[in-house]
């Protein structure tokens, strides 16, 4: 994209304003670009803007259009073609990410605990080609246990103790700090450990075989490094170095130096909401839903998904579609009762003495009135003081 002189953009903006055209930024830019490229005259530019305005206004959704229903149908119809059986390995072969219909359901249900949280960590420009840096970071982020750095490990039943020998090479390979590890281990097994150079000896508090075995497991699975909630990490070189993780912890990852705060993402929408706010969450819903659909080879216009995301994020927190979210919070008793949990809603309405204003679509279908949409959204108004002027 070539850079267009700011003055030209300002000029176009000014004319557009004069012609009462409210264009989004990208339109202004495109027009300016055409203005420069085609060497248009002032007059031609004006005509262009008027024409674009007309086309723009024609393309706008009319008032009274059933955008919600159209969006629902536009997402729902391709949804029927999605196969239920989707536990694909997409993108990263080693990572198992929920996709397809289960993932789509997960998104619109706004699940707090998603089944496969995962992150894609990008790096700042000066670090993104630095393999050594990325590897070291990956080991710091990824979960390592004692098991990963032990050279030898055996349970000595005769002497009732557990012996482990640390492999310095492995520590080196993982770019971990041996002293730090030892300190960690010592902290975790205060009473039962004796450290002798690389040899660690653990003795159970009570000398029984059961205790001994439990201790052995505890030693082996002791986490010695890694960020909370993150399990396996996979380093991949696409156009640059990227770390994919199993599990997600956006807040902690973003605090690490060298991590690109702009591009690094997670697929956990709620986490994005808490760390980056509701607008980011809305964008994340759009991206995740669109990606899920596209992965299945289905094309749905973004605007339908944007509407869904807007609805979900409108109240300032991510709400689910369905009886616990948007549909369950409708003001109309009849509309709620017609959806799910009929009895509950009717009962509550009768206890509280709720009044249904009958302004929605569903209510009007139930009572048999024209719905306030499309042809039903227009009425006839008459000025009552017309007679006087006669």
């Amino acid at each position: 994209m070539e850079i267009i002189d700011k003055k030209i953009i300002e000029k176009v903006e000014k004319i557009a304003k004069k012609k009462k055209a409210e264009f989004p930024e990208s339109y202004i830019y495109d027009i300016s670009e055409a203005y420069v490229r085609r060497e248009l005259t002032e007059k031609e530019l004006e005509t262009l803007i008027i024409r674009v305005r007309k086309a723009y206004e024609r393309a706008r959704v009319e008032a009274g259009e059933a955008v919600g229903t159209v969006a629902a149908q536009s997402v729902g119809e391709p949804g029927t073609q999605m196969t239920m059986r989707t536990f694909h390995y997409a993108g990263v072969a080693e990572l198992n990410v929920t996709l397809g219909l289960p993932r789509l359901i997960e998104i619109v249900d706004a699940r707090k605990k998603i089944s496969t949280p995962t992150m894609a960590i990008y790096f700042e420009d000066d670090k993104k080609e630095d393999e050594e840096f990325v590897k070291r970071l990956a080991n710091r982020i990824g979960k390592s246990t004692m098991n990963d750095i032990l050279k030898d490990f055996y349970i000595n039943y005769a002497e009732m103790k557990v012996d482990g020998i640390i492999d310095e090479e492995k520590i080196e390979d993982k770019r971990l700090d041996k002293d730090e590890i030892l300190a960690n281990v010592e902290k975790a097994f205060k009473k039962v450990i004796t450290i002798n150079d690389n040899k660690l000896t653990f003795e159970p508090a009570k000398p029984s075989i059961r205790e001994l075995r439990l201790l052995a497991d505890k030693v082996r699975y002791l986490q010695i490094s890694g960020v909370k909630n993150i399990g396996k990490v996979i380093i991949r070189k696409e156009d640059e170095w990227i770390i994919h993780t199993e599990g997600s912890n956006l807040g902690d990852i973003l605090e690490i130096d060298g991590v690109d705060k702009v591009r690094t993402t997670t697929n956990d929408i709620h986490e994005i909401e808490t760390v980056l706010g509701i607008e980011a969450a809305r964008n994340s819903i759009i991206n995740e839903a669109l990606r899920t659909l596209e992965e299945q080879g289905l094309s749905v216009d973004v605007r339908h998904i944007m509407l869904v995301a807007d609805m979900m994020a409108a109240e300032g927190s991510v709400r689910s579609i369905g009886r616990h979210g948007i549909s369950g919070e409708k003001s109309s008793v009849l509309a709620r009762a017609a959806f799910e949990e009929t009895g509950k809603h009717l009962l509550r309405a009768s206890i509280r003495g709720e009044v249904d204003k009958l302004t929605g679509i569903i209510e009007n279908i139930i009572i048999g009135q024209p719905i306030p949409l499309g042809t039903g959204s227009v009425g006839v108004a008459m000025k009552s003081n017309k007679n006087k002027s006669k």
């Binding site: 009274g64 059933a66 149908q73 009768s350 139930i366 048999g368 024209p370 719905i371 042809t375």
Partner: protein
């Protein structure tokens, strides 16, 4: 190590140490006749379980036993069989042939033929086509078809009309179809011979041309030759039996077969009874239509003491006649009078209806190639071959390549060859040399070996530029017929509870404008069209709403006055709502919820 579990007919009965030897021993005992030959035994290595089955209803099939790569069935056995010295049963007694069920097949390694036999095989197919059942066995050249098409055909052949029994004239099946002039297939299989399909055939041999014709055979529709139909091709009869008995009720009363008198409750028009004889039962061979009474019957009143206005008990009998079903017609084929087990009079009436193929009737070849009639074309307009042969049926070439039902193509070539040679062709699957034989037969009779011919347009007489594939295939008429399904309704009966139209063709019901259809009208913003569908054309109701309490008021017809049962004589207003909504309000009231309608002027 754990012992292997042994199950008999799914029930755990014991364990054994050496399952493989045990299973082998049991099999030997079966072969020697020590144990019933109807026992099947299987060992599953993965779960270490032995399954023995001997209950009825398992599908089993015969296989030749193989020992060390040599089949036990020898030439001398075949000679003896031919001479009639031994019979099939003896093969089983001798332990040469045994029946395996689906379970025991898991433990066997079956050779398709002698040429593929090796040391590891445990069994040998008598013929590869014995693996097919009755339905799949009817398909000729099924080894050339794609499996979904074979599956479809195996399902469809059960829906084909034919000569389903030979004593149909003596039976009173509630529903029965009978194909007129059934033919034995020109291309048969050995399974057709084995199952005596030829004695109960269910189709006819059609001369088929594969070409498009004016677009009337798009999307699997078929074009039929009208003259062929008039000659009786694919004509069938439909029988429906009705029955009624003179039931006895406690209290000595009983039903009576008679022509009901005018005073009877529920009396139909005199017209409806016109076919009845004196005994109240129709005359055979009379033409009846829906609503006509077949058996005139009256029953005693349901509640004994029904007091009329003068305080006397009136004995008004109810009309309970049996009429011809809605949407059906026909000729009374047979009238049967007998007794029930209780000894009361029983009448059975069979009504017959001739079905000549019409638009929308379903047909299928034996290769899962189903379609409905799209056009019935006069013979003079049907393209014809050089020899003047006019096809009975024109199918669209697009029906073949994507479905890969090559068997149909081969059947058509073989059928054509069979016609010319004057004998039937064997189309048993896994018989590789049929192709060349049929091709040679065609060339010998002056045809192109592929079966293509030049056709001449029936309308202009011009030669059609493309060569058209013409052959003879066995086609089946399936029991999905237009007359049984065509339906439309404008106004009609409604349900008592909701006042919405009834459901289903038999009840003259409406066609449901469902939730998704409703969504479409919403999406289009067609508010008034939607209201018309859901209210005006369904269960519109004018409710009178009390202006005070918001509940439904009552209209007193005698005094011509509206009043509210709660507030009494106050203002009330007519409001158009759906009856279903009124019902909802009533049901809420029955739940002690008090719904009120607050009225205001229309905006």
């Amino acid at each position: 190590m754990n012992k292997a579990k042994i199950y008999i007919n799914g029930e755990l009965i014991g364990t054994c140490d050496d399952p493989i030897d045990f299973v082998g021993e049991m099999r030997e005992k079966r072969r020697s006749g020590e144990v019933s030959d109807e026992m099947n035994i299987t060992y599953y290595e993965e779960t270490d379980e032995v399954y023995i089955f001997n209950d009825p209803g398992r599908a089993r099939r015969p296989l030749i036993i193989v020992k060390e790569g040599v089949p036990l069935l020898e030439e001398k056995h075949m000679d003896e069989l031919e001479k009639g010295e031994i019979r099939w049963d003896d093969f089983i007694k001798l332990g040469i042939v045994e029946y395996l069920d689906a379970e025991e097949e898991e433990n066997s390694y079956i050779a398709m033929g002698l040429n593929s036999l090796n040391e590891d095989h445990t069994h040998l197919e008598i013929d590869p086509s014995t693996m097919l059942g009755i339905c799949a066995g009817i398909i000729p050249f099924s080894d050339h078809n794609s499996s979904p098409r074979n599956t479809m055909e195996a399902g469809m052949t059960k829906q084909a009309l034919g000569l389903y029994v030979s004593n149909y004239a003596l039976r009173t099946d509630t529903r029965a179809h009978l194909l007129h002039h059934p033919q034995t297939p020109l291309v048969k299989t050995r399974i057709i011979d084995a199952t005596n399909y030829d004695k109960r055939p269910s189709g006819q041999n059609f001369v088929v041309a594969v070409m498009s014709f004016e677009g009337y055979n798009m999307e699997d529709s078929l074009i039929l030759n009208k003259s062929s139909l008039e000659r009786g091709m694919s004509r069938s009869s439909f029988f429906r039996s009705y029955e009624a008995s003179e039931r006895r009720y406690p209290g000595g009363q009983e039903d009576k077969f008679e022509i009901p008198e005018k005073g009877v409750r529920g009396y139909r028009s005199e017209e409806a009874y016109r076919h009845l004889d004196e005994d109240g039962i129709v005359n055979p061979e009379s033409y009846v239509e829906s609503g006509d009474v077949l058996i005139g019957k009256t029953s005693p009143p349901r509640f004994l003491e029904e007091i009329d206005e003068f305080g006397t008990v009136a004995e008004r009998r109810r009309e309970t006649s049996v009429t011809v079903r809605h949407g059906e017609k026909g000729v009374v084929d047979a009238v049967l009078l007998t007794e029930t087990v209780e000894g009361s009079k029983l009448a059975k009436i069979r009504v017959r209806d001739t079905r000549q193929p019409e638009f929308g009737d379903k047909f299928a070849s034996r290769h899962g190639q189903k379609g409905v009639v799209g056009l019935i074309l006069s013979q003079e307009d049907v393209p014809f071959t050089e020899d003047g042969v006019v096809p009975d049926l024109i199918v669209n070439p697009h029906a073949i390549p994507s479905r890969m039902s090559v068997g149909q193509v081969i059947e058509m070539v073989a059928g054509k060859a069979g016609c010319m040679e004057g004998h039937r062709i064997d189309g048993t699957p896994f018989n590789d040399d049929m192709e060349q034989i049929t091709k040679d037969a065609l060339t010998a009779n002056g045809f192109e070996s592929a079966g293509c011919e030049s056709l001449y347009s029936g309308t202009t007489g011009e030669r059609i530029e493309a060569e058209i594939f013409v052959g003879v295939a066995y086609y089946q008429k399936l029991h999905h017929m237009t007359t049984d399904k065509v339906y439309a309704r404008s106004r009609g009966p409604v349900q008592v509870l909701t006042r919405q139209p009834t459901e289903g063709r038999a009840r003259e019901g409406g066609l449901r404008f469902g939730e998704m259809e409703r969504d479409c009208l919403i999406a289009h913003g067609a508010a008034l069209a939607l209201k018309e569908r859901l209210l005006d054309e369904s269960d519109k109701y004018e409710a009178i709403i009390c202006g005070d309490c918001g509940m439904i008021s009552v209209y007193d017809k005698i005094r011509d006055k509206k009043y509210c049962p709660i507030c009494g004589d106050v203002d009330s207003y007519p409001v158009e709502i759906s009856y279903a909504f009124k019902l909802l309000l009533d049901e809420l009231k029955s739940l002690c919820i008090f719904p009120k309608l607050v009225l205001e002027d229309k905006a």
